[in-house]
């Protein structure tokens, strides 16, 4: 808990300007559900908070035309209950509904959600020199490797970090080929959501590809009929208010009982929202059977590197994909 300055700019441009002016230790804050939490744990120690939650008209949900567009400050609960999202894109709505609690969904924004940090317990609970963590203190080591790693990733890990990317919403967005609009000191740019996240490699403390002072302003999802045949299936240690052990975002384009194209992304098992092209390839052009669904699931984990206690995620993850494919396929197109 260290003192920090706090301002509430009125426009995105003002916010980006304030960030540049604040210098070292500046952070944007929106719903605050992650940042305040990590400040209390002494992991995030910002010197300046630029609160973007007061920006007018920065939370619009646009569903006309050939895309969905969610401005960054839209609440998770608002997007989850939008009638078009709920009807035509269950994978998006479910990924929001199955995250956190109603109170948190009312506060947290769909933009801030993309930047949620890992729930690795060694990362969260070890400040003050108790557990080494390359993410928290670069170069200090990783206590999770060789430790209590039941919750850790099996895909995309490195020798320095196995922390799971915790989100549900980013997984659904990656499956749906969504992109983000970004505003920064050098103007605006756009990038696929999938490109926002870095693998830990040797620098696990660098998690996102945003440049300093850049702010996510909107999320854009191209419309597709596959949205109707979609689901976000999440397996966790309790039926609500828990992060995923394994999850699968699935959307299907079907021709009768044949899969023309599948989009599959995984949560709870990887160091970033994990698109699974190996699984998608198994399904392309094939008749969807329970056996094929499981084969697709297993393909997604072909390169898995389990640790001591998380080997079950490989089989559970494969079965989660298989169940998600069945749920999505059972949904009608109309």
């Amino acid at each position: 808990m260290q003192p920090f300055s706090y301002i509430r700019p009125a426009t995105p441009q003002e916010a980006v300007g304030a960030f540049a002016q604040a210098g070292e230790g500046a952070r944007f804050i929106a719903g605050g559900t992650t940042l305040y939490d990590l400040m209390k744990l002494n992991i995030e120690r910002p010197r300046h908070l630029i609160d973007v939650s007061a920006i007018e008209g920065f939370n619009r949900i646009e569903t006309d035309g050939d895309r969905l567009r969610f401005e960054a400050n839209a609440a998770m609960s608002a997007v989850a209950t939008d009638p078009v999202v709920a009807r035509d894109y269950p994978v998006l709505a479910e990924s929001l509904w199955k995250a956190a609690s109603q109170q948190l969904r009312n506060m947290a924004t769909v933009g801030g959600n993309l930047l949620q940090r890992t729930r690795c317990m060694y990362f969260r609970n070890g400040a003050g020199g108790i557990y080494p963590c390359n993410k928290r203190e670069p170069g200090s080591g990783c206590a999770a490797i060789g430790g209590l790693d039941r919750g850790q990733a099996v895909l995309g890990t490195s020798d320095t970090c196995t922390a799971v990317s915790p989100g549900d919403w980013p997984v659904a967005l990656v499956a749906m080929d969504a992109s983000i609009e970004v505003l920064g000191p050098n103007g605006t740019r756009s990038m696929p959501v999938a490109d926002l996240y870095r693998l830990p490699d040797t620098t696990p403390h660098v998690e996102f590809t945003l440049d300093p002072g850049e702010m996510i302003t909107a999320i854009v999802v191209p419309k597709t009929l596959a949205g109707r045949r979609s689901t976000y299936h999440k397996i966790r240690d309790r039926e609500s208010y828990a992060f995923a052990l394994t999850s699968a975002a699935v959307a299907l384009e079907m021709n009768d009982d044949r899969v023309e194209r599948a989009r599959i992304a995984l949560g709870g098992v990887a160091t970033r929202p994990w698109r699974a092209p190996e699984a998608e390839e198994v399904l392309a052009g094939q008749r969807l059977t329970p056996e094929l669904a499981l084969a697709a699931g297993r393909a997604a984990f072909r390169d898995a590197r389990p640790g001591r206690h998380n080997g079950f995620k490989v089989e559970l993850g494969a079965r989660t994909i298989a169940d998600a494919l069945r749920i999505a396929a059972d949904r009608s197109r109309t």
Binding site: Y122, G129, R238, S240, A242, T246, R319
Partner: protein, 718 residues
Amino acid sequence: MSVGPFSDRARVDALAKVRGEARSAADLTLPRLLYAMTVPSAIAKGTMTALPVEAALRVPGVVRVLTPDDFPAPPPFTEDGPPPPPPTLETTIAYRGQPLALVIAETLEAAIEGAETIRPTFASEPFACVMESAGAQRQPAEDVAFGDVPTALSFAASTVEAIYDSPTQHHNPLELIATVAVWEDGQLLIHESTQASSLVKGAVAGALRIDPARVHVRGATIGGSFGQKAVQRQTALVARAAILSGRPVKLVQPRGQIFHTATYRTRTRHRIQIGADAAGKIVAVQHHVEQEQSPGGYFAVSEYHRDVIRMYGVQNYLGTGADIRLDRQDPGYMRGTHPQPACFAFESALDELAYKSGRDPVELRLANDTRVDPQNGQPLSSRFLNECLREGARRFGWSRRSPEPGSITAPDGSQIGWGMACGIYQSATTPAIATLRIDARGRTRFAISGHEMGQGMHTAIAAVLLEGLDIDPDGLEVAIGDTRVAPQHMTAGSWGTNSVVPAAMQAAERMRSAFAELLGGRQVSGNLHRKLAAIRRPFLQIEVSTLGPGQDQSALEALRQGGFAVAESVYPGFSTFSYSAHFVEVRIEPGTRRIRVPRVVSIADCGRVVSPRTAESQVYGGVIWGLSHALREATEIDPRYGGYLNVDLADYVVPVNADIGEIEIGLVDQPDPLANAVGVKGLGQVSMVGISAAVANAVFHATGKRVRELPIRVEHLL
């Protein structure tokens, strides 16, 4: 004494709680209040070599940093004296998270910031923190044995033997542990969320070496306790801070620290062997239990045998055990305490025996009923376990169960399992001293020992008084939990409500007699307040005291001195226990193997039911926590670092509403004829004991897989 069933009454404090008006210790604000925060140890064992506080003192708002130098040496330990108080601040480190310093400041933020600046240096030593650690010290415990187990087992027609594991678990009541200490005119007043105000008083006086007569403890409204909120190390620290600063001081301990300082349910491993004869009669039980223990902890291994011995009519029992001494803080009592893991193991093994010998699990238990206490041969004062079993089986529809494991499948492919198990818990008694005062202005005040933790003691007392006395319900004050109003017992072990209810009953009777005497045959109309007004008496006050079976006046004296005066339930001439029978349905998804519990039927024998609503609420809570013991909770310890890893409500997984299906509760409501004048027995613990075995047995019935370690998770069934 009225003989009919007690009527349903609303919880006395329900409205205040749902409106947020009930005040817990952490809610208390006082003029000139200072806020405190502790500095926890980062190492598990060793010595603190330096404690630099200069940076903390530079934080604006920080008033002082208390260090080990600010505390007196611990009191000398005497064998026959009271248990030693928890240590204060010390340079010797016995466990990770041990408080090393206390920062007090004008604001909570300054106290936290100050505490974060303090980075003590340490000389670390090797440590052991789990059963498997090198250096763990194994210390055999006292045997509990009767009969001849080896001979009986050699004649058994069928036997089972297996090992069962119950994990480390931490209480996580919503309310954090909070202390507010006020030092004024040489008197120390402590407001604390505690279920043991008199023990807190004694511990603080002992630790700070001050006269207990100058220490007063007021147990505030408690937001859940369950054995955690007895005596805390923090209390004397906060009290010392108040004395040194001359200002009131408040400490609300963060949840992550509570995991490291408060007591917890320790991990246990049970090896159970059961033998039965050809008729299904259990002939012998052998039960070896080992538990993780602190270096000086007294949470007794032998008590794992106390209740299980008496579950059925077993003539031969050999109970052995050991403490595994580790560098951890003390384990302690957590709802269901010893019988909770012991019954998980024993009732799981009994299910294995039922399958092995081809008997129905309910029939097997019914056939092993007993009227006598198997350990000593004296009668059980009341035992309605078979009634619990029959009623539970009837409501659950047990007769429709096909016994073959894996034989029931839902249309979606889910495997369905029906399992059952029983629970037992002693019904102990503590003496009580109470005063009852009724005045002419519509007020009634009943002061007695006891703490309201949500279990409904307050409501049960009110029910008895309102049933027995014609008084204004709105003017009734029940004063409990405060060492200033009556000698206080520790409210725990399911002896609270069943000890104070008879005292309330006796007080009502004594008050009616006092009125009869006062009126001397005069006919005066109106309720008791109006009668007093009519004869111009401002008030009438009586005092009563009650004892547990077999206790004499020395128990009252012990209570007055703030000591432990509980009569355990093996009384002279008879034994008294409470019982429960639980029936559980699980559904296990075919693919991802998620386990859900759509349905539970739980029937309890707690003697007479005085407050039906809060009694049923106790059982709901017990069932839910039992499901949590079986399927959710485990505290993770990384043996390389000591301490606990999953120290918040996101990672320490307790059930949420979405996890809970239909729960049907039944109470036998038959008075116990001997334990006390009202016929009540304990309920809080027994409602939870046995649930986790019923779940594991249901999982076996669904899948054919016997899981002998908790919690049962998807990976067990993939």
